[in-house]
Amino acid sequence: MYEHLAKYHTHISKYRHLLREASPRRILRDEIREYVAQDTPDGQRIFFNYLAVRQVKIVCDFPNADVGQIALVDMPGLGDTGVGDADRLMKTLGQDVDAVLFVRMPKSSGDYWADVDVRLYDTAHAALVELPIALWSFMVLNQTDSNSKNGDNFNNCQDLAGDIANKHIQVKECITANCAHPQEANKVLDRVLDYLTTSITNLDREYAASCQERLLQLQNEVNVELEKSRQVLGKVTQTDSWFPLFEQLFEQTWNNLTSGLEGLLRYLKERRNSHNLDLKQQVKAAIQACRKDTGIPNLEQIEKRRDRVGGYPNAYYEYLHEIRAHLSQHFLLLDEGLKRSWLYVKSQLANILIEQGLGELTDTRGCQFLNDIANQLPESLPKLKLGFQIVSEFDMSYRELIQHRIRKQLDGLTPDETPLQISSCPSATEILANLKTLHAEAVYGCETALENLLCEPSQAAFAIVEEFVDRVLRAEGAKTEWRILLEEVRSFVWQDEFEELGDRTRLRKDWFDSIDKVATANQLNFMQFLN
């Protein structure tokens, strides 16, 4: 193996360029040798392209058109194979091949079946266990004559043919032929093809039956394993003390939950008419920004705009739009304050639930905790799920809560709505005065309107939390849903009181669900492909 790798390494400069090219690469017939062989016909070792070749497909016309299409797969010789060639041999034999020809050229000086031959056979034999290779393989002993480089090996061929059975190399037939002669080579092929023609159906049937048998065996083995899996968590031991303990814990948790949530609700109710400090702070900052950064042009700019757009009225209307847009963008600041205050309420809510053990159901905290619980709750607990969905999906944003309510205050800066239409003899001074007044009025309007909205986040928070409490505590059947939920997750919520694994109902349920899925997929009738 190391030598193989060293060869790849040493000669990389000779084949590296090929790795960068698109694959597959089409080559001419004359080039085949330099991509598949190591040596030239006269024995010079100058070819290294083969190191970059995974597979060569040679397509040519086959003179025996009546036979149909035949593919000959020439595998690397054993011993001089490249990296992964042995695996490829197995795969090719196992999946792509109908018959195997082992080709052996006995030395004329004397030869015998060596380990390497037996190993090659064993490798091929292992490739397809369902169908004995003896039924679909041939041994070809390449006979050479005295004119050949190898010399006359006829006797050696005889010896090997005679000895083959002793080596447990079982093939359909051992054929001796001079493969250098096309006619003899064709005869070999004919014999193989004849055999296949008469036997291929039987071979396929035998192969299929063998596969079916293995599949059924596998199915059976899976069933045995599934049965073991069903037992692996052991049986739930429903001891007499389990239910009373759960009931006791549940009542305690229920009481804590109701007093915690009702307490939060009372707290929010007391504050629902008071100003939200986060929002108040942001409003102050936004109004200051509005007054400081007005976007109002100076006289010179107004004159220039008038020249550009062709008249004071045009310039005036353009400025109204611009100043309005400029003004309203300052209020985007409010988003932050709104979100912060709602997040705070959400985390207060989450903390109450977490304190009652629900924190064990997820690692997340704050609003993400509420989202996770909403997602985890099954549809079979609709009241709880709805409650958690309401509270986790509600968001307080400037756009949702405020924007539309202060929009009216910007009417003065809208050309069609403005109470200050430009006079019949306009001037830059008039435009400037109007813009200043309208801007100041808009800011005042927004400030006043926002002052009225300062309680809104507190009111919204109260409303949403009350809705939540209605859904999860006060709605008919809510307590039952909590009981079902807590019974299912009791080993998480009350870890000390309930056994770790044996009683982890949810885990058990997931486990048995998975086993059931496998069992469904492993039904006998799915595996039966032969009638």
Partner: protein, 324 residues
Amino acid sequence: MHELKITMLGPSGVGKTSLLTAMYEQFESNIGKTNLQLTPDEESSAILQERLIELKTLLESFESTGGIEGTEGEPEDLKFFVFGLGKKGEKPSVQIKFQDYPGGYHAAKATPEKRQFVKNLMTECVAILIAVDAPALMEQNGKWHDVFNRPQQITDLFKTAYENLDSPRLVIFAPVKCEKYLQDETSAKELLQRLREGYTNLLDLFNSSALLSKVAVVFTPVQTVGSVVFSRIEMNSNAPHFHFRKTTHFAEYNPKDSEQPLRYLLRFLLKLHLDQRSQGFIGLLRNLFRRDSHFKVAVNQFAVGCKTNNGFAMLQGEDLLKVN
């Protein structure tokens, strides 16, 4: 000549003088074909003229600032505006005396003497006009209403003054600087509603069994300049500055409905005459209308023009104002 006294309550600077200026300045154009004329006495005329000039000067600039300069007036400072009312081209038949009543009297520190003075002043008046700073009432949810309009102090004054009332009285709420809130019917209704809310205690007092049949209450929102509207409040050193602006750059002095308080007043007086009441000052009236039937006709014509919509309303005592 008979003299009818009317007390004007309301903080200094709220616009009482402007109201009288507008009433006088616009009287001719507002009375239509009614054969009446309103003539201020010399001193009043000078003050009103001065105020008119001020108001018109005010209109030279696009924006202006209003505010209350809390005059702590003393009784000696009491201002009177005296008008003669009569048929056109003739000697006035009756003298109407508007008594401006500065804020100082109803301050908590008022001495018993001052209190008594105020009580007498209010008791001897046939009508009391309460000038209401409309922006203070309306803006920012009325957060400046108590500070500027002092509704509770006014209520307390009436509690004392209208104790054991022996004859009918007219109370006129006159919101001023209210141009912004009379732009349409909806905002006018809101003004009316806010007035009711802002003076709940006082209205409850008038509505009490002792006063219900004796006190007529009307709302007469007067646009004392007409072409100037409230713009915004800006805080400066924690003090509110009320900004006003003209409706257009070339808008001119154009008061509206400034004669309405007077119409209500005369209508009230006429009704008292028709009812043949005779207590106190009413006896004088009876003589007045009996002697001068032409004047009575003119007053009747004038009185029927009382508005009762777009912010105007008779809150109670309709019977005391029913002339036809």
